[in-house]
Symmetry: C2
Subunit: 195 residues, 2 copies
């Protein structure tokens, strides 16, 4: 793909991300995206043929970015505690920005019967966290825990807050307790001198 | 309220619960509810003037029922462990029935700007769990924990699973890990001979 074409594609993804986050999946039309990205119909359709294709490209991009970090950092031998703290800080930041959440859009997208891709991403999330916790336990940094259980808590407590932050206002205390709880499960208190 | 009128009201609430759970809040009209409850327009409007009023009555009913149990049981001096186990079993049952979840409807209802009632229910949920955990700690049944943190985990891990169970299929293992994690936080292992 030429660099200019690639740039336009990225620009479309960013512009439509904002629309999906704000209004969900169902309400958004290709016309809305043309307007937001300041593109002609032909210009947009040369990149994406539907809002579905576009939304899936956004999910793909987010997921690739997030997944890469974990595995790359483990390969580089970075400490599990550091990887965890970075991930938790990112999660806190995301929980603090309800307006950027794609939760409603994912909900609506999945409601239209399209669960395969969501399942795939969910499994990737599980796999990534499972790998990090095992890595931390092998290095003696993390306590011996029931890995599947902690992964479940990480994924769904986070998702619960993200979803509910669009229903009720979230306090800083609530958001911080998620990260603090996860940290406590994994890191022995005496060893830990972080936040 | 006369007994017959009360019965019709309850019947309308049950019939519309199923509609809201299946289709969310936005799509449902008073006409749909007339059909589901087999009532004339006049019959329905003598009880509720809008889907909003109806939906709020459903939320109120669920919440009253759930709240009562906790406080009543504590007043009766029932053991905290027993109250907890009953509540966790109920939560597991609810997580196993994605199709009965009002999550999407609540999401849509709140999305229309109506957050006061949802905030109220959220606060009641927090208060109820806070009271139970404190009760359990006072009785020496529960470990000394950071109450606000554990309440956050309970509420949002549960909500995360309920919401996501409509996006991806949930395994029994995932659902059970939520309950098992909560139980472990509160109950000292040696003392606990439950599930």
């Amino acid at each position: 793909m030429s660099s200019k074409k690639e740039k336009t594609r990225e620009f479309i993804l960013d512009a439509s991300y904002a629309l999906f986050a704000k209004q969900g999946f169902n309400r958004i039309t290709m016309k809305d995206i043309c307007e937001a990205a300041n593109l002609s119909r032909g210009g947009l359709y040369s990149h994406f043929s539907s809002t579905r294709e576009l939304f899936e490209a956004i999910l793909e991009k987010i997921n690739q970015k997030e997944e890469m970090n974990f595995y790359e950092e483990m390969e580089q031998g970075i400490s599990a505690t550091q990887i965890l703290d970075k991930a938790l800080a990112l999660m806190e930041d995301e929980m603090n920005h309800a307006e950027d959440s794609l939760s409603l859009a994912m909900y609506e997208y999945a409601g239209s019967g399209e669960t395969v891709l969501m399942e795939h991403f969910n499994k990737m999330g599980e796999a990534k966290w499972t790998a990090l916790i095992q890595y931390g336990m092998e290095r003696g940094e993390f306590q011996r825990v029931n890995v599947a259980e902690i992964v479940t808590i990480i994924l769904y407590a986070y998702q619960g807050v993200r979803m509910w932050s669009r229903i009720v206002p979230m306090t800083q205390e609530t958001i911080q307790s998620i990260a603090s709880h996860i940290r406590k499960q994994l890191i022995k208190e005496k060893k830990y001198n972080g936040i």
